[in-house]
């Protein structure tokens, strides 16, 4: 059994096509593995035939774990929030529908920070997810459940969403691959909205080839999401083995800031690896990128405060007991249904959009966004890719940053600029480093960003670098993978 689960999704797919692997048997093996979840990573699992609306009659590709932010007909969909407890959507998100049509069964729905707001998964109303490398540490967020199931041998691959780093950061902290595609590459229809101008669906996988395969299934324009355009060409499997002739730009404006020495050491050795594979390392200027966090924590909460207005106890979700008028019902429902971080962001966003402050906050942040996108455009005139560490630290301890929201936000320092610019970025595991304060070594992610819609080029380079790095560490006790 564990031999079956040791296959990557691509290897399994090839074995199915060759008639050497029974797809239903393989999916059942994964259902068995998922049932052993001790990480609080799944909020719902298909035990077999539990959800007729999303049943796949003839599986032909590896089953997928889906972040609980994707509406799935007849299956509980909570977005990690109390306010959607018990909600079963009447329709299925396009991304999930595409998986089903490709023959990929849904293995389960994964835990997440409430409405995707968080970098540690501690903001889930259903309890924190544990990092499979060290159960006293966070898996990252907000797609922490999706990252933990892949790293922990509870799913062959998963999908998540990334608004400011929510795929890349947990992938880095769990030692797997996470790709945020170009904004518009994948439909957002049925993906519960957090910050609509930034949200993007993407794969969390064991390796770069699986990410390419999953992206090929998910991408495409959709008439139900007018901002989706798809990729110019469906990605093919990467096969590049060297980096000759490719230029990688290190943004000194970001990497000169303080971050964990262990992460820095892995980052620098990865740059050396790029050179040994024939790539060239240059310095690029992204003078406005360091203001990314400030701009992001205005724009994202502003959009969230508007998007989350729909949770009012009228059409779906929970309603609080109230003897007063409808306004009191709204206020109580939202006070009881939302957790602390969601309330904080709604307040921040409402403030940033309020009359008299709009120009100073929201208007100014949108202008910073223009400058950051321009910085990347200039950089890509000079280099093929921009590279940074994915996260300033390895996985931190549960509870370590919950008391200080700003410290938590700074986890997104390296990932937010790419989100604001709408460009694709991938995190691949690059090595292990000791956490600050000591302890067993933990995975470090290396982020590569490319111009908009250059996913194929990005995947090819990431694949070559992945082969060169040869990262093969796994959490203790995880034999598959």
């Amino acid at each position: 059994m564990s031999e079956l689960l040791a296959l990557t999704a691509l290897e399994a797919h090839r074995a199915m096509v060759a008639g050497e692997l029974d797809a239903s048997e393989y999916a059942d093996a994964w259902r068995g593995a998922a049932a052993g979840d001790e990480l609080n990573a799944y909020l719902w699992r298909d035990e077999g035939g539990d959800a007729p609306a999303i049943a796949v009659e003839r599986p032909s590709i590896a089953p997928v774990a889906v972040k609980d932010i994707f509406c799935t007909e007849g299956v509980p969909t909570t977005a990690g929030s109390r306010i959607l407890e018990g909600y079963e959507p009447p329709y299925t998100a396009t991304a999930v529908r595409k998986l089903l049509e490709a023959g990929a069964p849904i293995l389960g729905k994964t835990n997440m920070d409430e409405f995707a707001m968080g970098s540690s998964n501690e903001n889930s109303a259903y309890g924190a997810v544990l990092n499979p490398w060290d159960r006293e540490r966070v898996p990252g967020g907000s797609s922490g459940g999706s990252a933990a199931v892949v790293a922990g041998g509870l799913a062959p691959w998963a999908i998540g969403t990334d608004t400011g780093g929510s795929i890349r950061q947990p992938a880095a902290l769990c030692g797997i691959v996470g790709l945020k595609p170009t904004y518009g590459a994948i439909s957002r229809y049925g993906m519960i909205a957090f910050a609509s101008s930034l949200d993007q669906c993407g794969p969390l996988t064991r390796d770069v080839s699986d990410a390419a395969l999953l992206l090929a299934i998910l991408q495409g324009g959709d008439r139900c999401d007018s901002t989706s355009v798809g990729l110019p060409k469906a990605p093919s499997l990467p096969d590049r083995e060297d980096l000759a002739g490719l230029r990688f730009g290190v943004p000194g404006d970001l990497t000169s800031h303080a971050f964990d020495p262990g992460v820095r050491a892995v980052f620098e050795s990865t740059l050396e690896k790029i050179e040994s594979l024939g790539g060239e390392i240059d310095t690029v200027a992204l003078p406005h990128a360091e203001h990314g966090i400030s701009a992001y924590y205005v724009i994202a909460p502003a959009e969230a405060s508007s998007n989350l207005a729909r949770y009012d106890g009228v059409r779906y979700g929970t309603r609080a007991e109230s003897s007063g008028d409808v306004i009191e019902m709204y206020e109580r429902t939202r006070a009881q249904g939302f957790g602390a971080e969601v309330k904080r962001r709604i307040m921040l966003g409402t403030y940033a959009l309020s009359s008299g402050y709009y120009e100073a906050y929201y208007g100014q942040a949108q202008k910073v966004r223009t400058k950051i996108a321009g910085d990347f455009e200039n950089a890509f005139d000079q280099v093929d890719f921009v590279v940074t560490p994915t996260s300033p630290s390895v996985a931190f301890k549960l509870g370590e940053k919950t008391a200080d929201p700003l410290a938590m936000y700074l986890n997104d320092f390296f990932t937010v600029p790419m989100s604001l610019a709408g460009i694709p970025a991938i995190s691949i595991p690059a090595g292990l480093a000791e956490p600050e304060g000591g302890g067993p070594k933990l995975p470090v992610g290396f982020q590569i960003a490319a111009p908009a819609f250059a996913e194929q080029k990005l995947l090819n380079a990431a694949y070559a670098l992945e082969q060169g790095i040869g990262f093969d560490a796994r959490p203790e006790g995880v034999s598959n993978g």
Binding site: R334, Q364, L420
Partner: protein, 87 residues
């Protein structure tokens, strides 16, 4: 602000959040110092033409399905408490 956002926060929450929000706003305020008067704001990063479709009727959710998740459906509609509280 909580009133505007229809969030019934407790005294204690208001107090804690006031401190947290001023810390965050202090960080955010760094962008106030940048001279961006001539810069166009970005609301959407990918250049897109408006997408239109034919104005033709198509299948939508049947009312009973749309109401299935409502906390208090009644007579084919969503029922809410009166806008005016009873005395």
């Amino acid at each position: 602000m909580a009133k505007l956002a229809r969030l019934g926060l407790s005294e204690e929450e208001v107090e804690r959040m006031a401190g947290e929000l001023s810390g965050i706003l202090e960080h955010v305020d760094r962008i106030a110092e940048l001279d961006l008067d001539e810069v166009e704001p970005t609301s959407h990063v990918v250049e897109l033409e408006n997408v239109l479709r034919a104005d033709a009727p198509h299948q939508s959710l049947p009312p009973e399905v749309a109401l299935a998740s409502a906390p208090d459906p009644a007579d084919g509609a969503f029922r809410v408490p009166s806008p005016q509280a009873e005395e």
